[in-house]
């Protein structure tokens, strides 16, 4: 299908991925690597060593101007007034009915200057939404998505690898903080201790020309060689985020799922002093006794793998919900899933049996607390299992 292939968007590293014999897929209109050595090997590299991801398909929207904080406070449910310069924050943008436009990471670059990192598949929609929401405020909205190649270096050895290539004291950058510094000879590179793997790691933002992007990629690969660094594709990105129970747009969150259903209420600051878009609807959900359904973790007991969209049944055969993400978990060596179920199932202090309809067969699963995987806390930093972006 050459016609559609040419229409796909490409990152600056597209030719490099192909030269590495990556399997490529259409991901939200982007021609992206899904795997190089294999999902399991890449997943394990990130859990036990280090992996490198091209995440340049993510979008980067900047808001500048005297009322940029007011604009962010309007479309972002978390409280951006709490941010210090150099700090990042997980949040989401909501529709008036309290459902998701997208989840985002808000970075405070300086007073009156914020960078919003958004998902690839929702880039245009998010950009228009931010523009519209920011309209009443004195601030300028710029889409810098195509200006950056974004690389994610993830895993317990990520800091050691990146430290070889930068004069920034990485141990001083705490989880969900960032700094600018020299990386691979490039000045003013933004280095954020963020990621989407449930592991320690960094995301760096470099100029998006192919020569620079390829050079930096190769220097990171070389620096990581002693730790067995693996190039990682979207396949491992998905299994890693699922083990860590982080949301993916179109699965755990969407325009028909609200914040409390998705268990992300702790990031919705109803008392921040600004009525953000969607706040009123969320208050009504709270006043009405909370949501009827909730996102719940499942572990397969019987043989079988729950996949996205599979129905869930109770012991009487009544359909009670649906799987939104499901996969083998390569590190945990279990088959896990996230599913929407009636709120009664969300109390994981008492694991409950449910049945996954796998191609006509009822396969037993047990509700289980999430995240499925939580990394051991490092001595120098105190990372929390903060969800991030796809």
């Amino acid at each position: 299908m050459p016609a559609t292939e040419t229409a796909l968007r490409k990152t600056a590293l597209n030719a490099l991925h192909r030269s590495l014999k990556a399997k490529m897929v259409d991901f939200g209109g982007w021609d992206m690597p899904v795997e190089y050595a294999g999902v399991s090997a890449e997943h394990m590299a990130v859990r036990t060593g280090v992996g490198l991801f091209d995440v340049s398909h993510m979008g980067d929207i900047q808001l500048r101007g005297p009322q940029s904080l007011d604009a962010v406070q309007k479309f972002s449910m978390n409280d951006a007034s709490k941010l210090q310069i150099g700090q990042a924050q997980y949040s989401a943008m909501l529709y008036p009915q309290g459902t998701f436009v997208d989840d985002i990471i808000v970075h405070k670059l300086s007073d009156n200057d914020y960078l919003i990192v958004i998902n690839a598949g929702t880039r245009e929609k998010d950009h228009q939404w931010i523009r519209q929401q920011a309209q009443p405020f004195k601030c300028h909205v710029s889409d810098y998505s195509d200006h950056y190649t974004q690389l994610a270096i993830q895993g317990p050895r990520a800091a050691e690898v990146l430290q070889k290539l930068t004069d920034l004291p990485l141990s001083e950058i705490k989880n969900y903080w960032f700094r600018w510094g020299k990386v691979c000879g490039l000045y003013n590179v933004m280095v954020a201790r963020t990621g989407y793997t449930g592991e320690d790691g960094f995301e760096i933002y470099i100029p998006s020309d192919e020569a620079t992007s390829v050079r930096v990629w190769n220097e990171i690969m070389e620096a990581g060689r002693e730790f067995g660094i693996q190039p990682c594709g979207l396949g491992a990105r998905n299994t890693l985020r699922l083990e860590s129970a982080m949301a993916l747009y179109g699965h755990e969150i969407s325009d028909t799922i609200n914040v409390y259903e998705a268990n992300l209420g702790r990031y919705a600051k109803l008392d921040k002093g600004v009525d953000f878009t969607g706040a009123e609807a969320l208050r009504k959900v709270q006043e009405g006794g909370g949501p009827d359904r909730r996102l719940v973790g499942l572990e397969m007991i019987d043989r079988g793998i729950a996949r996205d969209g599979y129905p869930l049944f109770d012991a009487d055969g009544k359909q009670i919900g649906e799987v939104v993400s499901g996969s083998p978990a390569p590190f945990l060596k279990k088959n896990i899933a996230l599913a929407y179920l009636p709120t009664a199932f969300a109390d994981v202090s008492t694991p409950r049996e449910v049945y996954v309809g796998i191609r006509g067969t009822m396969v037993k699963a047990l509700t289980t607390p999430t995240p499925f995987y939580k990394r051991a806390k490092a001595a120098t930093t105190a990372p929390t299992a903060t969800p991030s972006l796809s």
């Binding site: 795997e35 294999g38 999902v39 793998i305 996949r307 996969s327 390569p330 191609r359």
Partner: protein, 129 residues
């Protein structure tokens, strides 16, 4: 990896090797490569009947689940139990690791399957390289 000349192939990427009226069935190198890390194989039970071009089981990788289509009709005489504990052998040895053996009920069906050369051509046209 080359495709054995003694096997015949389906457009759904299964192979069958027929000896004395018994067909040994597996998936092709192309199939395992497309699926990636295989973690689970659902095979039929011994004694079950399978019908040409109908689903007889499934194979699951980390990424996805894929149906298996019978290259020919017949009765299942044995299944490869080793795949229950070592499904990854479908990745490492796709043309050796078999899934089931069937007693062919209509041996002439085999003539309608692809030869190794035709299958290779089919795969290269399908993937565009």
């Amino acid at each position: 990896m080359s495709y054995p000349d003694t096997y015949r192939y389906t457009r759904e990427h299964e192979w069958i090797h027929v000896e004395n009226g018994v067909g040994t069935v597996g998936i092709t190198d192309h199939a395992q490569s497309t699926l990636g890390d295989i973690v689970f194989v659902e095979a039929p039970k011994v004694g079950a009947s399978v019908e040409k071009s109908k689903v007889f089981g499934s194979v699951e990788s980390v990424k996805a689940v894929s149906d298996l289509y019978a290259p020919a009709s017949g009765e299942v005489t044995s299944v490869n139990d080793e795949l229950a504990t070592a499904p990854e052998s479908l990745n490492t040895d796709p043309h050796g690791a078999w899934i089931m053996r069937i007693q062919l009920s209509s041996p002439a069906e085999i003539d309608g399957l692809l030869s190794a050369a035709d299958y290779e051509k089919f795969v290269s046209e399908e993937t565009g390289h």
